[in-house]
Amino acid sequence: SQQGEEDPQALSIQEGENATMNCSYKTSINNLQWYRQNSGRGLVHLILIRSNEREKHSGRLRVTLDTSKKSSSLLITASRAADTASYFCATDVSAGYALNFGKGTSLLVTP
């Protein structure tokens, strides 16, 4: 079942700007993960943040997690045209089980 819900559904920005995507979920989690999907391709893992972490960085990516609000955000700084893709959050509610994905945010970065 889908637990994560991304917001906005679509985002259009220019190169060099920052892109922020939000994810809300419903139940307690072990960790939350963000994935990227280029059109017609499989998903690629970007970053994982555990329930006891509040912020994590990886290159131009910054993820925050607020377990009290059951929400997470993904910030992509200095966006590039190559960042154009759909971004999904996925919640891990039970170790060893499957991840629950949201519907994704479609990001368009124009030169």
Binding site: L43, H45, G96, A98, F101
Partner: protein, 111 residues
């Protein structure tokens, strides 16, 4: 290194015809394996997952089935396809660091 192979990339099938999608993983043993489906403009829906040979859990009752005849082989099948089975099918395996690795997907169109 681990790789995941999924085929075919695209498939057009008539209503009522059978289906067999295959997924194999290399470079790891006893992986957790997953089948997800992605409808146009929607998130990923978990269909089946497997923690070992012959062990299949179904998430959504439907006319699809899955089998795991070998440790690193996961097959998605149907005896008679419905129009509603159209979508993008993704196989994935879960590594020790909790993230999912996805195949390149199969775009299935049932006409």
């Amino acid at each position: 290194s681990q790789t995941i192979h999924q085929w075919p990339a695209t498939l057009v099938q008539p209503v009522g015809s059978p289906l067999s999608l295959e997924c194999t993983v290399e470079g790891t043993s006893n992986p957790n394996l997953y089948w997800y489906r992605q409808a146009a403009g929607r998130g990923l829906q978990l269909l089946f997952y497997s923690v070992g040979i012959g062990q299949i859990s179904s998430e959504v009752p439907q006319n699809l089935s899955a089998s795991r005849p070998q440790d690193r082989q996961f097959i998605l099948s149907s005896k008679k396809l419905l129009l509603s089975d159209s979508g993008f099918y993704l196989c994935a395996w879960r590594g020790q660091r909790e993230k999912l690795f996805f195949g390149s997907g199969t775009q299935l169109s049932v006409l």
